[in-house]
Subunit: 307 residues, 6 copies
C-alpha cells in the first residue's frame, strides 16, 4: 500500500475533511466547538490539524515507536498526570507498538427521542445517517481511532474487518483503541494494524448512537483529548498531552541508554544488582555510566538530526 | 422540615438558580447550551424549569411514588426505549421509592491541563472552584441528583453525610443516584432520602474534575437526559423521558388493578394460575375482570381529580 | 389464607395433577418417565406423590423447619453426598426457613426448531403453550419450586409477583429456588414466602423454553432430584435425598442440644472453649453433658410423639 | 495418520457404534430415545448417522472450514436462532478452525444414590463403569465432542492428553468443546486438534457422573442438539442446526466475496468508507460489485462442483 | 452476662494467659517473639497486656464507639498511614460499631510436613492440637479476634455459632474480623456481637493450619499489628496504630461538632451548601461556628472527665 | 552468557551470601531463624544451601525440566499434599518450563511505624534500605524467586526489565513467580527466563515494605517453604517439598512411558480408548505394555547414569 499520496489528493482530503468536520460539530449531541478544542488544548506547542486538533509532528510519532509504558509513566506522574493510562485490553497484535494522534469518538446507549433529533440535525448539515462511518470517514494519516463504546460487548462492535481495513488505509496503519468490542476477529488477525479492544462478538454494532466526534472522552480511568499522542504497548495505552510529548521522548532516550548500560554490567556477572541499579554506587562506575550516557545521547541526536 | 417555602423565597431561588445556571454552561468542558437541551428534549409536553429542563409536574411526581420497575418496563419497551434502566446499585433505604426530576452531573478523571483551563473559564464566570458543590448548590425541589462518576470507588465519593443532608433539604427529599461512591455511610443511613450508589469509601472526592452540569450522561447502560423522570425501586432506577411519563403512569394504574384482581382470585384457591393469569380465559371471568378494572379506574381517577 | 382445603377438593387436585403429570412427561424435551423417577429414587422410604415423586411426610417437613445448613452438612458428608448444597443467592426473606419437597423445572435457551416440535407434542397432549405456568399449575401443597434457569438475568425471570403469589397459595407457602431471576421485587417483598434467586430484572421471562418438569436438574454445584427435601437458611439451600431425611433430622436434634449445652457452659464464663467444645474433656462434664443430652432428647421425642 | 480407513473397518465401526449406542440410551439418567432425537431434529435435510444424529455431509464440513462467526451470525439471527453461540473459552490452537458434527455429553455433580442406580442399569446393558470413556469410545470421524461439565475446573477435566489424542484419532481431527476443563495442557498443546475449554487443572476428572450421551445440552447460553454443525473460530463456537447449514455456507460465500471486493476498493485509497461499505452508493460501483460478485460466485461453484 | 468479673478471677485469667502466651510463640511457624512485638510497636504510649500487646485504655475504647470510618481516615492519611483500612466484608450486625484491641491469628494452607513439625513443637510446649481454639482460648476482654484465613470460603470457617458465642463471652462482646468465612450463620445472627467476614459455608474449618498468634498479619490491603485499635462501621474496618488512637478520637470530636453545626445550618434552608461547607465563608458565620465548636468541645471534655 | 563461573568466584559468592543471609534474618519483620528453617524442613534428604535451604541437587533440577503439572499431582495427592499448586498467572514465556529452588520473599502493605523500625534494625545489620533488591542480591544459581506481593497490581511491580535481567543472570535463568505484578513487559518479553505474574503495570514498586526473606509464604492457595522444588508449566506452578522430589521424578518417568505407549496404540486406530487406557484390558496388551515400560525405564536409567 502506498502511504505517500500525491500532493493534489492530499489537498482534496484536507478540504473534504474540513467540510466533514464542520458539520458533525453542529450535529452531534456532545458538541465541542473548534474554539473549545483549541482553548482546552492551549498548551499544545505544535501546529494544528484542520479540525483543530494538535498535530504532534510526524518526526515525534516516529520516535514514539520506541516507547514503552514505563518510559512514559516517569514524565507524566512527575507532571501530575496520573489518569492517562488505560489497560485491560485484548490486543490484536501484541508486540506491535501503537502510535498516533487521538481521533476520539463517543457512543451512548440508543435513545430514540434524542437520536431522532440528532439525525435530523445531521441531515440539515448534509450527513445522512450519523453512525460509526461518519467518524471513520474523517480519519487522517497518523490518527489512532479512540472510541468510547462504554465497554459494550454485544452490539458494541465498532468495526469488523472491512472497516478495520479501511482504518488501516486511512490512518496509514495508525490503529484503534475501543472501550468496547470488534467483530470479525479472524479477519482482523490478518490485518497488520495495532488494535486494543475489550471483547469480540459476532453481532454488528447496534442499540447505540454516535454522540460525539473529537470531543473529550474517557477510556477506562483515562481522560483523552482529541490530538493526544497515543502510545500503546503490551501493557496498555497512554494518552500523552501534546505539550509533554517531547519531554517524554527525550527522557525515554535516557531511560533506554540507562537500561542498556545496566544490563551490560549485569551481564558481566560481577556486580550485585544494588551496586549498579538504579544508579551505580561506585564513583568510577558512576563516571563510566555518565560517559556512556553522553556518548549514546550524542549518537541518538546525530541520528535524529540526519533523519 | 418545611418543604413549603414562602413564595418570595421561591422567587429568590429561581433568580439565584438562573444566575448559577448561565455561568457553568459556559464554564464546563462538556458544554450543552440551553438551546441544545431544549432541542434534544423537544417532545417534552410540560413546562420547563428556569434552567431549561423539562418540568414533570408535581402531581405526576406524586403519582410516580406508586411505580415499580415492571410498571415502567412495559411502556418503555413498547416505545423502543430499551436503555433507560440501570441496576447493580447499593441502596441506602430499600423499600423507599425514589422519584424526581433528573439533575445530571458528569465527572471525569482529573487532567491538570484541562482542569486548569476549566477553572480559569469558571472564574471568569464568577465561579470559584468548579467542583461537586457547584452543581449541588443548583439543585431544586423535586430534583434527583444523577452523577456519572464512572464507577469510581476510592476518591469517587460524590458526597458524605453533610452534603447528603443538604441535598435532602434542597430537593425536598428527592434523592441521589451515583455511578460511583459515597462516604459517611453511617451518617447517610440516618438521613431519610433514597440513594443509589455503587460503593462506599472513607476517602473524600478527589482526582476527578467536574466536566458537565445538566448535560446528557450515561449511568451504566442507561442514557439520561436532564429533566428525565427518575424512578427507583428495590431493583434499580428508571430514567423516563418526560413525554412518556403520563402514559407510564396511566398504564401502571391498570397494571396495579390487574395484579390486585389476579391475586384476589388466586387467594380464592379455586383456579390454576393459567385460568387467571396473565388474562382470564373464561368469558365470565373476563367480564368480571373488565368490570373490576373499570370500577377501580374510575375510583382512581376520582381520587386523582380530588387532589 | 386457608391451607387446609376440604377433602373433596384435595381429591380433585390429585386427579387434575395426575392428568397434567402424564401429559408433560411425554411433551417435554428432557423426558424422565415415571418409571425412571421411581428407579432413580428407589431408596425413598416414604410414600410417593401421584406424580411419582417421593413424599417426605408432612411431620418431617415440620421438623425440618428447625434445620440449619450445618445440621445437614454433617450427615450428608458422612454418607458421601457432597454436592447437595447451593449458595450465592439473593434471599427474599432472610431468617425465614425454606422447607418443602422439590418440584423441579428446567429451562433452556430458546431454539425455534426444537421449541416448535415441543409445542406441537404438547398440543397433542392437550397443553396449549408449554411454558412456566404449565409447571406452576402442577404445584402441590408442601412443594418448593426449584428452577434451573441457567443463571439468566435479563429475560430469565421465572415469575413476577402475581405468579409468586400463586405459588404461595398452591404450595401453602412452600417456596421458590431459581438459578435465574425474578421480577416485581417490590411486590415479592410483600409476600411472605421464602425465595432464593440470583438476580432481579424488570423484563418478563423470554428467549427461553421449558424443557423439563420433575426431571433431574442442576442448581449451581448441586444435583437435585424431584422429591428431594429442600431446606434453605441464610447461607443457602440443601437438597436432601429423602432416604436421608430422618437421619438428618435426628442428628440435628442432637446437634441442637449439644449447642444449647455448650453455650450454657460458655455463658458461665468458667471454661476455656477447648474444655467444653467440641466435646467436654473433664469426665464429670462429659457425664453432665450425656445426661443433659438424654434428658433433652427424651423431651423432644415426647413432644414429637404428641404432635 | 491415515483418516481414510478401509471400507471393511468402517462397517465394523458402524456395527460397534450401533451396539454402544443402544445401550447407553437406556442406561443414562437423561434418556433421549432415538425417536426423540429424530423428532426434535425433524427438519434435518441430510442422512442420519447410525445413532440417529443428522449427518451434515462431509462436503459441507469441508466448506465450513472457511467460516467465521460473523458469516454464521447473519443467517442465524435472520431465522430467529439467537442462542447458538458460546464464547469465553480458552483455545488450544487459535487460528485453527473447528468444524464437525456435535456429539454431545452431559455430566452432573456426583450423587451416590443416583449414580449407583445408573451404573447398575449400565451394567445390565453391558457397560462396565459409565464414565467419560463410555462416550469417547462412541465418537465417529467428523465428530466434535461437546461436553457440558457445568463450568467445573477442579475435578472437571474431561480429558487429559491421552484421551485428547484418542479423540483426534477417532474423529479424524474433529475437536473438543467443553464447558469445563482439560488437564495435561503441555501435552495437549502438542496435539494438533482444535479445542475450546474454560480452564485447565492438574486434577483428573472426579466428583461428577455421566448423565447423558447425545442428549440436548446447554453450553453457556447456547442450546446444542446432537448432530449440530459445530464451527469454532477465534471468537467462539457456533452450533448450527443442520437445516441451516447449506444456507449459512452459501451466504458466507457472498460475504467473503463482498469483503474481498470491499477491501480491494479500500486499498485503492480513493474512497471514503461510506462510498463503498456496506454497499456501494455510486451506480457504476454498484454494477462493478454485482459483476464481481457474479464472477466470483461462478468460480466458487465451479470449484465446488469439481471437488 | 456479667462483664465485670471479680478481681481474683481476673488475676487467674492473667496468669493463664501468660502461660498460654509463652507456649505458642515458640510453637508456631511464624514466630514473633515478645521482644519483637515490643520493638515493632515501640511508639505505643499505653501500658501493655501480659502478652506484650499495646493496651489501648478502656476509656478510649468507649470513646471509639462513636467513630466512623471517615473520622479515622482524616488523621491516618495525614500521618501517612494509607493501608489500615479493609472493606468488602459481610457484616453480621450492620449498625453495631466494632471496637477493640486486635488479637491477630494467621492460618495457612495445610502442608503435612510443616504441620507435623508444628504440632510436635506445640506438644513439647504443652499444647495438644494447635488449632483455632488454641488462639481463641487466649482472648481477653476488649479484644477483637482478627484472622487471616486468606479469603478461604470452603473449609475456611474460623468459627461456628458455638465458638462465636464463646468469643462474645471471652472478649465481652469485642468482635470478629476474618478474611475468610464463618459457619452457622443462623446461629450467629442471634448472637449480638459485631462480626466481619467474607463468606459463609456449611463446612467446618479444615485443610488449613494455624501458623501464627499475635503476629503481624494482612487483612485485604491492610497491615494489622497485635494491639491495634480496631474500629468497624458499615463501610469496613480500620486498624489504628495505638499511638494515633488519642489524636484520632480528639479530631473525631471536632468532626462530629462540625457536622452537627453544618446540618443545623442546612436545616434552616437559608444557605447554599458552599456558604457553609466545608467551612463557612461569611465572617459572622465563621465566628458563630468557632463559638459553637468551642462550647461543644468544652461540654464533651467535661463529660469525658466525669466518666 | 556463561553459567559456569570459575570456582574461585563461586566461593566468593558463597561467602557474600552467608554475610547477606545472616543480616536480614534479624532485620526482617517476619523472622524465621535458620534453625526454624532447618526444623520445619527436617525431612529434606539433600544437602543444604549456605542459607539453610534444602538444596535439591542440580541433577534432579535437570530431570525436573521434563515435568508437567499432572506428573506432579499424582505423587503429591497420594502423600496428602493438596495445597502445593497455584495457577491463574500470566506467563512471560508459555511453553518454557520453570524449574528451580524456591527463594521466598514476602511484602506487606507499607506501614510507616513498622517500616521505620525494620529499616532501623536493618541498618544496624549493615543493610541500607531494606527493599526488593535486598532479597534479589541474595539469589543463587538454580533459584526461583517466589514473591508474595498479595496480588497487588498498581505499585506492586516487584521488578522491571533491568532487575528481571539481573535475576536471569544471578539464578542462571531460574525464574520468577510473583503473586503481584511486574513492569516493563515489553523488555521482559525479550528476556528468556520463565516468569509467572498476576498483572503488569507501568508504576514502579511502592507503598509496600519487605517483611521476610526465605520465610514460609503463601502464593494463592499454595504453601511455599524456602528450598521447595518449583516447577511451572502452562497450567501453573507446583511447589514440591524436597523430600518428595525424587519420587515425583521417578513416577513421572513411568507416566511418560505410559503416555508414549498409550498414544502409540491409539495411533494404530485399532482400539477403543477403554481397551488401552488407563490400562490395557487384554492380557497380551498388558504384557506388551509391561515389557515396553521395563525396556524404556532401563533406557532412561542408563541415560541418567551416563550423565
Amino acid at each position: 500500500m502506498n502511504w505517500n499520496l500525491p500532493h493534489k489528493w492530499r489537498i482534496a482530503c484536507f478540504l473534504l475533511a474540513a467540510f466533514f468536520l464542520a458539520a458533525p460539530a453542529k450535529a452531534q449531541l456532545q458538541s465541542f466547538p473548534r474554539q473549545d478544542l483549541i482553548d482546552y488544548t492551549a498548551q499544545n506547542p505544535f501546529e494544528r490539524l484542520p479540525d483543530g486538533r494538535p498535530k504532534v509532528p510526524d518526526a515525534l510519532l516516529d520516535r514514539a515507536r520506541g516507547l514503552s509504558s514505563e518510559d512514559i509513566w516517569a514524565t507524566l506522574q512527575e507532571k501530575g498526570f496520573n489518569n492517562q493510562f488505560a489497560d485491560g485490553f485484548v490486543l490484536a497484535h501484541p508486540g506491535k507498538t501503537l502510535v498516533g494522534r487521538a481521533f476520539t469518538v463517543q457512543f451512548m446507549p440508543l435513545r430514540p427521542d434524542v437520536n431522532d433529533e440528532a439525525q435530523a440535525k445531521a441531515k440539515i448539515h448534509g450527513i445522512e445517517g450519523l453512525k460509526n462511518q461518519t467518524a471513520i470517514d474523517m480519519l487522517q494519516p497518523g490518527d489512532v481511532l479512540v472510541v468510547d463504546m462504554f465497554g459494550k460487548k454485544v452490539d458494541g462492535t465498532v468495526v469488523g474487518d472491512n472497516l478495520f481495513y479501511y482504518i488501516m488505509v486511512a490512518t496509514h496503519g495508525g490503529g484503534l483503541v475501543v472501550d468496547g468490542a470488534v467483530r470479525d476477529l479472524e479477519g482482523i488477525a490478518q490485518i497488520d494494524m495495532p488494535a486494543y479492544f475489550r471483547a469480540t462478538d459476532p453481532t454488528p454494532i447496534g442499540n447505540v448512537m454516535l454522540t460525539g466526534i473529537n470531543v473529550p472522552i474517557r477510556i477506562g480511568g483515562a481522560m483523552v483529548m482529541p490530538g493526544d499522542l497515543v502510545v500503546g504497548d503490551r501493557e496498555g495505552v497512554y494518552f500523552i498531552p501534546p505539550q509533554l510529548a517531547k519531554e517524554v521522548l527525550d527522557r525515554a532516550d535516557e531511560i533506554h541508554i540507562h537500561d542498556e548500560w545496566t544490563k551490560k554490567k549485569f551481564a558481566e556477572g560481577k556486580y550485585k544488582s544494588s551496586e549498579i541499579y538504579s544508579s551505580p554506587k561506585d564513583p568510577a562506575l558512576k563516571k563510566e555510566y555518565q560517559e556512556y550516557l553522553q556518548k549514546r545521547l550524542d549518537e541518538i541526536h546525530k541520528q535524529q538530526t540526519q533523519k
